[in-house]
Amino acid sequence: MRGRPAWMWILLVIAAVGAVPAVMTDPFFLRLFTEALMWIGLAITWDVMAGYTGYLNFGHGVFFGVGAYTAALLIIRAGMPFGLAAALGGLVAGVVALVSGWPTLRLRGAYFAIGTWALNRAVGQLALVLEITGGPDGMRLPPFLRPQFFAWVMLAVVGATFLALWLLLEQAPFGLKLKAIREDESGSLAIGLNPARLKLQAFVLSAVPAGIIGGVYAYWITFIDPSSTLGDLITDQAVVMAIFGGLGTLIGPVIGAIVFFAFKTYFWAYLSDYQVLYLIILGLAIAATVFFLPDGFWGAVTNRLEGRRALRKGLSLGEAAGT
């Protein structure tokens, strides 16, 4: 693309989005705005492992929950300021990724899916039984009810995450190396890649932002408990959003998150009596997307575009992609 580099466009978009909370100050809208951003963050971080590296993390929510609980504990028990607490939430999530990833990433994808899924359930169980985390009653944080503030904080965190992931996965060699591992881990050894190390780096990269987002969530909602932060639903929704949007890209999960969040909001507004119906829809959405749209929405779009461009120019597919 001629003109300004991609990262400037990204910053521009973030700035443009940042103007919205200044103008639209209705608290309900700002809440939706903040939550939509939160889901974008969770979806793109899930995609780091699933789409780029080819490893399914069915317990991704554990990073979010660990971040939330860490921040909550630090704010309540240690009187730490919010920003620092959220940052440490991300750090602890990163450590969890490091420690849990080291044994499980050496194995095949199925074991990794099981291991991460089990980790999420185990940590959820831990939060339920420990006194310090408040058990099933959860924890209440000191209220700081400023919708605009949280809208901007979430935008800053998720925006920075997107930018960082863009630079690391789309611009820097790191992303392509991960994809090579995804395509053929054994073959990637022969060209000088160390998959164990790269996968662990990717895993930590996916965990830290999710942890920070969790920390922000805790202070924003002022209440956390095991089911809301360490339950299945966090992971389940992130999975739907990323898969529906399109794995292996950053734009795909963003689109998937926005679309699905819009659907979810509409659903809760009109069908909140049928809460468990939501689970069914989630599950069917995942299964149906895998079945009918394996490349996701964005993947289908880019496939179409490449085909059209080739037809228009009368070129072969390969040559068209290069122009």
Binding site: Q171, L176, R182, S186, S188, G192, L193, G318, A321
Partner: protein, 248 residues
């Protein structure tokens, strides 16, 4: 002989009770093209796998450029200068042809711009420049084999292990590949090549090593090896022991 690029000393590889390779020792001198031949199951790919770090030999020592590299992982060996292709080609199917070579280029050129330049050079060298943006999965067998070689070449190896890069190609493609191999040799790369197509390996190898049932049964110039009785028996069976030679 100048210091050998590669030296195997009593290398053995056992899988459970099966000795795939037994007490194999040989040198590869700089600039040589050494052919590794033998009937199916003789252990040729196993030797490759030990030299490229995919297997750790049960016994023995492997030295590369004078350094002991026994048991080092493949990525370490790639960094030291060993490149290889795979008998069953392993392109990164979801990536483009260019991206396949680009990932390999990062080893020597960690920066994006230089790596890209290197990748384009390699693509032109192997003749895949026009198909750079095609998905690797869309290449023909010949294209894939050349891409394999390209990925290994991007590592700027001192030693290149070629595993059946000519098998499955039609005569024209095979000739092109042979010319490519010779160009690689001329560029200063030492080559160890496994190949079943006798015509090819006889003409380009400076030296042949023959394996049978995991053991070395002959070593030397192609003409001499072709007349070796043990080699003939290994390929054609004991009845053919008196016949001419392994056909070239």
């Amino acid at each position: 002989m100048a210091e050998p690029v590669l030296r195997l000393e009593d290398v053995s590889m056992a899988f459970g009770g099966l000795m795939a390779v037994q007490d194999v020792s040989f040198d590869v001198a700089p600039g040589e093209i050494v052919g590794l031949i033998g009937p199916n199951g003789a252990g040729k790919t196993t030797v490759f796998n030990t030299v490229s770090g995919y297997y750790r030999p049960t016994r023995g020592r492997i030295s590369f450029l004078g350094r002991d590299v026994t048991g080092r992982p493949p990525y370490a060996l790639a960094a030291m200068g060993i490149g290889r292709t795979f008998q069953i080609v392993k392109p990164f199917a979801g990536l483009s042809v260019l991206e396949n070579v680009l990932v390999a280029s990062y080893l020597r050129y960690p920066r994006q711009a230089e790596a890209r330049q290197k990748a384009w050079e390699v693509l032109k060298f192997i003749g895949l420049g026009e198909r750079a943006h095609l998905p690797a999965a869309g290449l023909t067998v010949a294209g894939r084999k050349r891409l394999e070689m390209g990925k290994a070449l991007a590592l700027e190896p001192r030693l290149l292990l070629l595993d059946e890069v000519v098998a499955g190609l039609n005569p024209t493609e095979a000739d092109q590949t042979v010319r490519l191999i010779l160009r690689i040799r001329d560029a200063g790369v030492t080559i160890l090549i496994v190949e079943h197509i006798m015509r090819v390996i006889m003409t380009i190898s400076t030296r042949l090593i023959v394996l049978n049932f995991g053991q070395m049964i002959a070593q030397g110039r192609p003409e001499a090896v072709a007349q070796d009785r043990q080699v003939i028996e290994a390929y054609l069976g004991e009845d053919a022991g008196g016949a001419g030679g392994v056909c070239a």
